[in-house]
Symmetry: D2
Subunit: 232 residues, 4 copies
């Protein structure tokens, strides 16, 4: 049995560039649709598209990520419908005993009311409580899972006792427009046009995805930030 506090995000493959945004946008005017002009103009066009929310030119690209995160993160992730998913299955394989626990930096205490929650640091006794409770519950759950398997019970039945902090893995493919929608909802930043209050654990995944996005489409990424992190 293993506990971890980090998330894995690997960029498996991508077809992504700022120039494809520009090219797709320019097909509407037919002007040099298939060749680039100059970087300054391209950045200006991308910024204009982002600001006025012309979203479709940001769809001619794709990113495939390999992600490891707890089930409760995947539950939120898969509510995003404009994406393609393949996940590890508890029906087809015996699941590994790897579980999530928050690390020292994770704010543990929630105050305020729905729609306006504030998270604050816990104290050390609260973290110990979390670790103790998580360890005991995870340990017994996994033992019972193994006991059922040993008795010849089907994996898909036995897995019922496993908790939502169990790690799973998946491939997900999405385009930049969908990715920006994901980032706008699953990260919390000062000064965005619309507020978002994501659970910290999915934000950790989002932040790792965001790094790849910044590398692959720098002009688009800059325009996204400059215009309030609203998906166009």
């Amino acid at each position: 049995m293993r506990h971890r506090s980090d998330m894995t995000v690997e960029l498996i493959q991508s077809m992504a560039s700022d120039s494809a945004v520009v090219r797709a946008a320019r097909v509407s005017t037919g002007a040099n649709a298939k060749q680039l002009v100059d970087p300054a103009k391209d950045a200006g066009l991308i910024n204009y598209l982002m600001r006025d929310r012309h979203g479709s030119p940001f769809e001619h690209n794709a990113f495939t990520f390999y992600i490891e995160a707890p089930i409760f993160v995947f539950r939120e992730f898969m509510r995003h419908r404009i994406a393609s998913y393949n996940e590890e299955s508890g029906r087809y394989k015996e699941l590994e005993p790897v579980f999530y626990v928050p690390d020292l930096k994770r704010k543990l205490v929630q105050t305020g009311k729905p729609g306006a929650y504030i998270f604050e640091d816990g104290d050390m006794s609260q973290l110990i409580q979390v670790y103790d409770a998580t360890y005991k519950a995870n340990k017994l759950a996994y033992e019972q899972y193994k006991k059922m398997l040993a008795a010849g019970v089907a994996r898909e039945v036995a897995r019922g006792v496993l908790p939502v902090n169990l790690y799973s893995s998946m491939y997900v493919t999405m385009n930049a427009r969908s990715l920006m929608n994901f980032l706008s909802l699953r990260t919390m930043r000062e000064g965005t046009a619309f507020p978002s209050y994501p659970q910290r654990e999915i934000e950790m995944v989002a932040e790792l995805m965001e790094e790849w996005f910044a590398v692959e489409m720098p002009m688009t990424y800059e325009a996204f930030n400059r215009n309030g992190r609203v998906a166009p």
Copy 2:
């Protein structure tokens, strides 16, 4: 703490009729698009649309269901992207201790290999093992959940220990085309055009949804069954 073996599916609202399928299909020829002709012809047209997979006329309708099922069922359900979901949230409320266990009819033993699994009855000792393991693991998990809450830990952190056989609830809205796709993948029947091997628990939900579909759109439902239960 409570254990249950059944699923809840209520039809909350619907806008559904065979006549809307016919009307939408007839707009393409402009012939009497807005009035009905006679039931026999309507059934024939619906059967033709289903057989040759003209799917779009089956989209002008909607069903909203209220569903209670374990988290592991919702995990599979929400992979269906052409639908609208709102689910109970472990971030916004304290979750109730209601858990799923299989009943006596649930086949417990899986043989064969991926893609061709066969499920067989378990014996009584296996069911006892499942009940014992599930009860113990669920009980401890929920106790630890409550302990963390009592210590002031945020709900979204504490819920990590809760298992995937915990019941959740949601509203889902989908149209008949999407519903037929769901039924084709999430029920197992003899003689369908394509085989499906759903987990029994999501099939239980699908069967309850199917009853409503049969009532609301009887001609469409009959055509669906007659043509191999393939979503058009």
Copy 3:
């Protein structure tokens, strides 16, 4: 041959209410999810959902419209992918000679550059030019269409000469979230959060749809307007 300047939008069927928005939103907290509290609280909740862009509760509803508009309007309309369409087909029926011309109020002159066009009134001589050109081109096109049909040429080949101002008809079904996205992009209003510059003819269709939306979901409609006409 007939020319017209108006659009037809009929609400054929709907399953829509503000209360379903509230109910779907409340399932997340489990509090009274299935019963209503009081109108003032409901309006407040809907306004909050709209403002902070919690969009999914606005999807549990559906509107089916019957629409008559020129082909160039349908071309823009069908770029909206979260909707269901069935349109009259030039392959399956002989198309009627009904064509669009702008009326006296339609601004005919475009100035400015892409992304910042301004439309201004034309003078009478320009409108006469439009009517004369449209009448002549439509008349000859339809005559040639009929000539090809008379010679035994397939409808789908003959229709190639017909212009994009020919009227077509369709059924379209969409939910309120998708409808709000349509309205935000296809109407131009002062003071919206994001500017839109729709072609006037699709805006005429949008305005007629908007009237139905206002009637069916008044609280949602008010919240949409109050929050900058951004689709949540």
Copy 4:
């Protein structure tokens, strides 16, 4: 003014491989998800996925095409909603006088009834009739378009007279699953699981796209053909 009978399909960029299908499928069992085993096993797995309609592994890829085709083809094309489009705009640029006419091989005569049309060769007099009618109607339409522009009428108003056989251009991005759905509906082949009766002109576009698909994902393409050309 120019008339042409061919379609343009260029593959602008792609992120596509059979190995990504295999990798995504294998994540469900966790077995060697990230490395390849051997080509024979891969082909077998892909064939199994296709046959039993496990569609999601075919979504982790993307193709961007640049396409030139008449407006009536784009009208059909854009009914496919699982794709991303950017098209040349008659609002933003003056449209070029390039029009479609069928070539000598195009079957011109349609017999039979809706749902079971048969196309047969026309005779030379019919083709002459098509050419004559098309030339005259196109010529006058374009002249009237130019006349309105010369009078200062906005492009978006003037374009109303232009016919649906006018060429347009677009970028479209789609994944292999969506592409297979497109091919299954927009090509007609003997022996497919479901019959399709596409208009010849969109089939010409589909055939050119299919060539690229065959090159980029040969195992997937073979499995698609072997299993009745049904999109998984």
